[in-house]
């Protein structure tokens, strides 16, 4: 009765509390709360393992606790929808959930149990089949297929990944990781050979081994860690075990009661032993898991952290300082360089302006091409604009071969090479202008060092030397004429003293130039310096005169002497040209002789006779004396000629001529008119008797025997004569004909006699 009363009182109080306080209502939430556990292993297994824990919590806290085993995706969805109240998951998944929504915080951290040893740490296991001899250490996992439960697994993904990256392997980038959902599948995949290696959390292998004893021999753990007191094999460093987390919507009282129930669990309690735990400890510090995810850039830290300038400044102060100093130095240097460059550009521009405005032709050559030229240069070559020149080589405006025999382009190359070495070169060059005329220039090339170019440009200036070259050419020709002329040439000063002579002068006069220079030139003896006076007055004198060579030989010279005046009409020089005409004169003389004398006898011929007769007739008239014209014909000449030959005939004629000549006086003239006919002029004849006595002597001299061709021959002549003047006017021909007629008369009278002309002879 009392019991029942007490019971009913209690019930009434409870009812009161329930109706009065919403808190109390929550405390006894009739549908209870849900604890979700991550399905890191097969769902059924976990369901079985965690059922005792849930039952314990329900009874210890007085709040019905339901168990849900969820995979990560389902758990994340359930959390987002407040579909669960508490959850137990791995730290990496927890961090992801925490980043997506607010949580109350970690209530407790799992303490795992393994055969009496407890740990609050979890790590990763990297393993492969024991018979995979090719996989011995972490480095062997390069390019291998790897099985993992999923990205948001600490031991099954993140912890192994860090170790691999520390070993220098980036297995993520290779994309050879297969996500299998839970640890058991990873183990199966490795055993089956579907993957080369697997990532799982610590403890799983040991648990599986319980049911499959041979498993330990089938698998090999890589990178084993020596961790004294840690109950499991591990390949990685360790992190805090799973957190148990309450969601914020869960009532505080419920949370407190669940927490106190959790902490009240002692090791060995059936509720925890079933789940493989020793119990729950106060929340661990999960910062190391955060650092891990951050280092691997995994969700929720897969975005680069926001770094402020202050962070950078704080962390990299010395670097920034160094970089700052370097930048400053760089700026200073570039400023300095910039100034230098500007100055150089200014100088360059000045140079260009100088070149452009310079009155002499100037150009700039870079490489081999013209890059710049001024107006004067363009005009010199008679082009329209600089564009016609720029970009071309100098050789393009030249003949293929320069006058000195060098090929233009080659000569230019040699010059440029010298200039680029730093020399200044000067040369003469012939250009061809646009109108095809030649122009001589003296070209000077000098190096110009410009900013930004390794080799110097070449400044080129031209000086037009065409006139000089032409003058030189004329001079050269003049010298050649002077030296090589056959005529002797001399130049004297204004006083007629020789300054220069040519070779012909020496040859003709027989004097060396040493003897001739400083002396007067050969001049006519009689006129002497009068010649110079004439030449000065009339500009030129010319004439022939006799002179002598140095060794005394006679010369006939033909001299032309010119006076040379300067711009102010002052006499400065005389120039004379003479030639040796001695031989010409001699020849002239011979020719003349041939025209007037008989070649056989040396006596004047008919022409000269006629001439002499004219002169004698004129003289006889002037001096009033008589002259006789005598015609002589040899008798019996032909038989001699026929009998003894022409040579004998000729000898006879010569002998006859000599004999007749001796009979005649000096002033008389004997001439051979042709054949065996002779004629003579006897001047100053004092009457017929005197003439006839002369003729008698003549006949006597002729009739003397003559030794001809080894024979003594006796010949005679028939002579006719006439006298002059006569009463009538007569010319020379008439006179000679009279004598001829008289000679015929004499022949008719019986030869060897003479006969005078008279009218009655006719």
């Amino acid at each position: 009765m009392m019991q029942r009363l007490a019971l009913s009182w209690q019930r009434a109080l409870l009812t009161l509390l329930l109706t009065l306080s919403p808190l109390a209502h929550a405390l006894t939430a009739p549908d209870g709360v849900t604890l979700a556990v991550l399905a890191y292993r097969p769902e059924a297994l976990l369901q079985r393992q965690y059922e005792p824990l849930v039952e314990y919590l329900s009874s210890a806290s007085g709040v019905p606790v339901h168990l849900k085993v969820l995979d990560q995706e389902a758990m994340t969805r359930a959390v987002a929808a407040n579909g669960i109240d508490f959850f137990l998951t791995n730290p990496s998944h927890f961090l992801l959930i925490r980043s997506e929504r607010s949580l109350t915080g970690v209530l407790a951290t799992v303490q795992r149990d393994w055969k009496g040893r407890s740990t609050g740490s979890v790590g990763g296991v990297i393993f492969t089949r024991a018979n995979r001899d090719d996989i011995r250490e972490l480095a062997d996992l390069r390019d291998k297929r790897i099985g993992s439960p999923g990205v948001q697994f600490l031991g099954g993904y993140q912890a192994p990944l860090l170790e691999l990256e520390a070993a220098g392997l980036d297995v993520r980038r290779r994309g050879r990781i297969t996500y299998l959902g839970n640890h058991d599948r990873v183990v199966r995949a490795v055993v089956a050979g579907d993957v080369d290696a697997g990532f799982i959390r610590t403890g799983v292998l040991e648990e599986l081994q319980e049911n499959t004893p041979g498993l330990a021999d089938e698998l090999r753990v890589l990178n084993p860690q020596r961790l004294r007191g840690f109950p499991f094999r591990a390949s990685t460093r360790l992190y805090p075990e799973w957190p148990l987390v309450a969601l914020p919507h869960v009532d505080n009282g419920v949370v407190r009661r669940v927490a106190s129930a959790l902490f009240a669990l002692e090791p060995g309690h059936p509720a925890v032993r079933s789940a493989g735990l020793t119990g729950f400890s106060p929340p661990a510090d999960y910062q190391s898991v955060e650092s891990l995810a951050r280092e691997l850039r995994l969700p929720p830290y897969d975005h680069a952290p926001r770094v402020t300038w202050l962070d950078v400044l704080e962390q990299y102060r010395p670097w920034l300082l160094a970089v700052g100093v370097l930048l400053f130095l760089l700026l200073v240097t570039s400023a300095w360089l910039g100034r230098q460059k500007r100055q150089l550009v200014r100088e360059e521009r000045r140079l260009r302006e100088l070149v452009a405005s310079w009155p002499q032709p100037m150009l700039i050559i870079r490489g081999r091409d013209l890059v710049e030229c001024n107006r004067a240069a363009v005009e010199l070559l008679r082009y329209g604009s600089p564009a016609s020149l720029v970009g071309k080589e100098l050789a393009a405006f030249s003949h293929h071969i320069q006058p000195d025999g060098q090929v233009s382009s080659q000569k230019l190359s040699n010059l440029l090479l010298r200039v680029e070495m730093g020399d200044v070169a000067t040369t003469e060059w012939v250009f061809v202008r646009s109108d095809a005329s030649d122009i001589w220039v003296e070209m000077t090339l000098a190096p110009v060092y410009e900013y930004g170019f390794d080799s110097p440009a070449v400044l080129c200036s031209w000086y037009d030397i065409t006139r000089r070259k032409q003058a030189e050419e004329r001079m050269r020709l003049a010298v050649m004429v002077f030296d090589n002329a056959r005529e002797a040439i001399f130049v004297t000063d204004e006083h007629g003293v020789i300054m220069d002579i040519n070779d012909a002068y020496c040859r003709i006069t027989g004097r060396t130039s040493g003897m001739a220079i400083g002396m007067p030139p050969p001049l006519p003896m009689d006129e002497g310096s009068g010649v110079l006076v004439t030449a000065r007055k009339q500009g030129v004198w010319s004439g022939e005169f006799l002179s002598r060579t140095h060794d005394g030989r006679r010369l006939v010279l033909n001299l032309t002497l010119g006076a040379v005046f300067d711009d102010h009409s002052r006499l400065t020089h005389f120039v004379g040209v003479f030639s040796d005409i001695t031989k010409i004169k001699e020849t002239e003389r011979k020719l003349r002789a041939m025209a007037h004398y008989d070649a056989l006898t040396g006596l004047p011929n008919r022409v000269l006779f006629a001439d002499r007769l004219h002169q004698s007739m004129a003289q006889a008239k002037r001096h009033d004396y008589q002259l006789g014209v005598i015609y002589i014909d040899l008798d019996e000449f032909k038989p001699v000629n026929d009998a003894f030959g022409h040579d004998a005939g000729d000898d006879l004629l010569v002998e006859m001529a000599r004999r007749m000549r001796t009979v005649l006086r000096e002033e008389d003239t004997l001439a051979r008119l042709g054949g065996d006919e002779f004629a003579a002029i006897a001047v100053n004849v004092s009457g017929e008797e005197a003439l006839e006595s002369l003729l008698s002597r003549l006949l006597a001299a002729v009739s003397e025997p003559v030794w001809v061709a080894s024979h003594s021959v006796t010949v005679s002549v028939s002579v006719g004569y006439t006298l002059y003047p006569q009463p009538g006017e007569l010319d020379a021909d008439q006179l000679l004909r009279q004598a001829d007629q008289a000679m015929y008369q004499a022949k008719r009278r019986g030869r060897n006699g003479y006969c005078g002309f008279s009218e009655n002879l006719l």
Partner: protein, 319 residues
């Protein structure tokens, strides 16, 4: 590492012919022996974070490190503050470049159950390894009790022989640390005093010789940076580090956890404070030098004015 490489590049670019040789010097030889405070260096080595400029010389006890420094075989060592003072007094000037840990209960004074207070120590035989940090705790305790060394009977005994002497009844009190302390406790000893009662006094330090400081300052920077990186792993990834330390020390992870609880591992900011000129390390060293000299444990009081240097502490640590 990156910074060093960058500086190397920029300097060698500027002074290529003269300075290149400097970077191929011998590495900094660092003596270490097993102690929870020195674990960060071991961890860096295990994870390959120790730069080439530093090599660890593993000893069994502090004696190995001290001998190495005195003989010139080492350029630096992990030592307690008193050991640093002793080395300095022995004529090898050293510089403390980092505080690895501060003892907060690691060093203990274990006594027979009848001894209830420090004052009761008078006349008792006290086992202590005078050449170790235990002496520091003992003198601090005696000072606290108003006693002098003359008033107690000091038995200079290596700490690994304390249990035996205790069991033989040769000592009433032991100045020791784990694991000897636990074993003594099992043998009936009770804790009378520990380093929690003398806060900020028993320091473990990374020291380098002045010679090394002059010759290879870059390597010292590398060393200190590596220590802090290892420390970060020890503290933040304790779920992992505990097992690794346990493996090396051949003890259970639980023991490592307890050992960690008995020391305070100062981070960068605390290091700056401790190593400041006139800071706590310098003050303690000066007091210690006086006591050690008075007790005849060192021949002369060394100059400790410039014992500490903050120059090698990194400006910041990666998070």
């Amino acid at each position: 590492m990156h910074r060093r490489r960058f500086l190397q590049l920029s300097v060698s670019a500027a002074l290529a012919p003269t300075l290149v040789g400097c970077f191929h010097r011998e590495p900094l030889r660092m003596g270490v022996h097993p102690w929870i405070g020195y674990e960060p260096l071991y961890l860096t080595e295990e994870f390959g974070w120790l730069p080439d400029s530093v090599t660890l010389s593993r000893g069994f006890a502090a004696r190995d490190s001290i001998n190495g420094l005195l003989s010139g075989n080492l350029d630096g060592a992990a030592l307690t503050i008193d050991e640093a003072v002793r080395v300095q007094a022995a004529g090898v000037p050293v510089r403390a470049v980092a505080v690895t840990d501060v003892s907060v209960g690691a060093d203990m004074l274990m006594a027979r159950p009848g001894i209830h207070s420090l004052e009761d120590l008078a006349g008792k035989s006290i086992g202590v390894e005078l050449g170790s940090v235990s002496a520091v705790l003992l003198f601090a305790a005696l000072q606290r009790a108003g006693l002098t060394a003359d008033q107690v009977s000091l038995v200079d005994l290596p700490v690994n022989r304390h249990l035996q002497s205790w069991q033989l009844g040769q000592i009433d009190v032991s100045v020791c640390y784990e694991p000897t302390a636990s074993r003594l406790k099992q043998a009936g000893a009770v804790g009378l005093f520990d380093s929690r009662q003398v806060p900020d006094t028993i320091f473990d330090l990374l020291v380098v010789t002045r010679e090394a400081e002059r010759r290879i300052p870059g390597a010292i920077e590398d060393l200190v940076r590596a220590h802090f990186r290892g420390l970060q792993h020890l503290v933040r990834n304790s779920h992992d580090a505990i097992y690794r330390v346990a493996t090396r020390q051949q003890v259970d992870p639980e023991a490592v956890r307890e050992a960690l609880a008995s020391v305070m591992l100062p981070e960068l900011a605390a290091n700056r404070r401790y190593l400041a000129p006139g800071g706590r390390v310098e003050t303690v060293a000066r007091e210690l030098a006086t006591v050690l000299e008075r007790e005849g444990l060192i021949d002369r009081v060394p100059d400790v004015d410039e014992l500490c240097s903050r120059d090698f502490l990194p400006g910041s640590l990666p998070s």
